[in-house]
């Protein structure tokens, strides 16, 4: 017996959000996957074969790429079938383009942060209350990145933003260096 006033609860897979996209999106994905699969098949065949074909390094990669090609064709065929059946969803039907644009800006900020850790790498060893610490590009780069991202996403008072960024960076630096004994990125 079902009750009409019960909220609809529907299992949509182990990961919410995964599944059918608009046919155009699925078609784009299918084309990209077909190109990738063919490139991987060619690269697999081009791999050297030191022993018999049964143990060739490119054997399973070739089969995986070939089956990926079939799956991509299936995805494309399903997208075309849905399009013919009248599914006319906009290209990014359930996406908020402003949010996606912010995600891209955030990704750029993260890329710049990692590049800063690599390019500006330095190290300065200090002793603080008997504990040996290493100051590297991690501390300044993390403080600046956190300040920027928190300021842009929260827009609270700048002194709170700066305090949180500095405190969190110092906590991470101390915990990883003194407790877990893990060197931080941004040094040599």
């Amino acid at each position: 017996m079902t009750h009409s006033n019960q909220p609809e609860i529907k299992f949509e897979g182990e990961e919410a959000g995964a599944g059918f996209a608009s046919p155009t999106i699925d078609l784009i994905a299918a084309v990209a996957l077909i190109v990738l699969a063919i490139a991987m098949m060619v690269a697999s065949v081009a791999l050297p074969m030191p022993g018999a074909i049964h143990t060739a390094p490119g054997l399973l990669p070739f089969f995986v790429s070939a089956s990926l090609l079939l799956m991509a064709l299936g995805l494309g065929a399903s997208a075309i079938a849905r399009r013919r059946a009248g599914v006319q969803l906009p290209l990014f039907a359930d996406r908020d383009m402003t949010t996606d644009f912010r995600s891209l800006l955030l990704a750029i900020a993260v890329g710049v942060y990692i590049a800063a850790l690599q390019v500006l790498a330095f190290q300065q060893n200090i002793t603080l209350f008997g504990a040996h610490l290493r100051i590297s590009a991690f501390e300044p780069a993390t403080i600046v990145t956190l300040c920027t991202i928190i300021h842009l996403s929260w827009r609270g008072p700048i002194w709170i933003t700066a305090s949180i960024s500095i405190t969190w960076t110092i906590v991470l630096s101390l915990v990883f260096q003194l407790i877990f004994r893990i060197p931080l990125p941004g040094s040599f």
Partner: protein, 498 residues
């Protein structure tokens, strides 16, 4: 077993398990932070710990975070983890009636019972599975790895299993990068020496579940409303006794679902919730969706029982039960622990230590959950714009810590971008992780078995009955998925707007 229990009860390990449980509960309670994300980030952190400490800590996090999702689900109507959706539907209705505290108390008790059932069944079944698994040779291990990736794909993508399989296959292609394990031939390295070691799966895991989550949720605008008070937390004993049969049934169900590679707590809680509704008495069924304690118990017992279940294939076969178990497997590999059929001979006593750590983590979860509800409510008021950026440097350190390589941080960044793109194109990410972890197992065993079968007939190959059964299982999964894709495509077409 006693030695394992005594070791797990040593003050240091007890403190680390408690720290893991508390961190897990808080992490799971915060919307947007999943169990797998916690496990993925902590792999890098566990690199600096001893083997016992890292196992205790990570099992604590696993146990705590699966329950933690219930807190935000009940109190702010946002599931902290995806498996807490049924809990959210029932629990929040109860919270609106002023019974939020009691609903949380029931969720804690149900999680504890579920965790217990999962551990008992794990201890009961692992010797049987291990004995059986000793018959698995290269051919069988190849098919088992393939099943793990395929079932994960089927489960992850719901109506579109094809996308799940594609994700798993892409993960396999990533894992092929690096020196080939038999001839040491560089594969797909394009002359880059940093790729000779292969792509770090820890970096991939952190990127897919950590950075991608930050990229997805930080720019979103919605913020939850915060409850002012929670009310009585400890549920009456009568209520617990009344729903005990439903809890036991859901616990058993959750454990068995956890044992299926790729099927996680989400499948377990939804299925237990649905079966619970079908089997409930009419007066109880009428409450379903409007605030039913029985429904809450079904969902919460199943998702915590799933932990014990997911450990079964992970420990006995080396095939992770779900993405969180894959992260645990990665952490064990970092400690040179190779799990699988020979775990008892390769690492004597380890399996008992893992049982003991799980039991202790379950008890600590029960105690810590009551204490942490208040602080969690306060944490909900922390703006996401502050919280999410703080995870970014943890992702960077986690990816860097394993090999102290900035190249791995770039791999993490690339995986994060791919994870975000996957959400745009509606592809699941969990099968990628299963693909990355299981591809080396599949590759080596596939070629080894072809070498063994070199002069044999097809009849001989098919007479390897375990391998043949597994091969048939793969074909059945493929057929079932293809039927689902076909039906899904047609139902989407039929319901399409003109």
């Amino acid at each position: 077993m006693i030695d394992g229990l005594l070791l797990a009860l040593s003050p240091t390990l007890l403190a680390m398990t408690l720290a893991g449980v508390c961190l897990g509960i808080i992490w799971g309670a915060l919307p947007g932070l999943s169990t797998t994300m916690a496990m993925g980030l902590l792999i890098g952190l566990s690199a600096g710990m001893s083997q016992e400490i890292s196992i205790s800590f990570m099992l604590g996090v696993y146990t705590g975070s699966v329950f933690g999702g219930a807190i935000s689900a009940v109190l702010i109507n946002i599931p902290g983890t995806p498996d807490a959706v049924p809990t959210m539907i029932e629990g929040h209705q109860l919270a609106q009636k002023g019974e939020g505290g009691q609903a949380l108390g029931m969720a804690i008790a149900a999680s504890f019972i579920g965790g217990g059932i999962g551990i008992i069944l794990l201890i009961m079944f692992i010797p049987i599975v291990l004995t059986f698994a000793l018959n698995f040779r290269s051919w069988e291990m190849f098919w088992l790895a393939l099943i793990g990736i395929m079932v994960s794909g089927t489960m992850a993508a719901g109506a579109m299993p094809l996308k799940g399989w594609i994700a798993g296959w892409l993960g396999m292609l990533v894992a092929f990068v690096g020196l080939d394990s038999i001839h040491a031939v560089p594969r797909f390295t394009f002359g880059t020496y940093a790729l000779f070691d292969g792509v770090s799966y820890v970096a991939v895991l952190i990127g897919l579940f950590g950075l991608a989550e930050i990229l997805r949720t930080l720019p979103a605008k919605d913020m939850p409303t915060i409850p002012s008070k929670v009310g009585r937390i400890i549920p009456p004993l009568g209520l617990l006794v009344r729903y005990a049969p439903a809890a036991v049934r859901s616990g058993i169900l959750g454990t068995f679902i956890g044992a299926i590679p790729g099927a996680g707590a989400n499948v377990a809680s939804f299925l237990a919730y649905d079966i619970g509704r079908r089997r409930a008495k009419p007066e109880e069924r009428a409450k379903w969706g409007k605030g039913s304690y029985q429904a809450l118990v079904c969902a919460e017992t199943a998702n915590n029982a799933n932990i014990g279940g997911s450990m079964l294939p992970t420990l006995a076969l080396g095939i992770p039960g779900n993405a969180a178990a894959a992260a645990l497997l990665a952490a064990l590999t970092l400690k040179n622990v190779v799990v699988g059929p020979t775990i008892e001979t390769d690492h004597p006593g380890l399996i008992y230590f893992i049982y003991s750590s799980l039991i202790i983590a379950n008890f600590l979860m029960y105690l810590a959950a009551f204490a942490l509800i208040g602080p969690c409510v306060k944490l909900f008021s922390l703006p996401r714009g502050i919280l999410m950026p703080l995870i970014l440097p943890v992702c960077v350190i986690g990816a860097f810590a394993v090999k102290l390589s900035i190249f791995d941080v770039w791999i993490m960044f690339a995986a994060g971008l791919v994870g975000w793109l996957f959400s745009v194109f509606k592809f699941p990410v969990a099968p990628v992780v299963l693909g990355v972890i299981l591809a080396p197992l599949a590759d080596e065993n596939f070629r080894r078995s072809l070498f063994i079968f070199e002069d044999k007939t097809l009849g001989f190959v098919l007479s390897q009955w375990i391998g043949t059964i597994l091969m048939v299982a793969v074909i059945l999964v493929l057929i079932e998925g293809a039927v689902r894709v076909y039906r899904g495509a047609h139902s989407h077409g039929a319901s399409a707007p003109d």
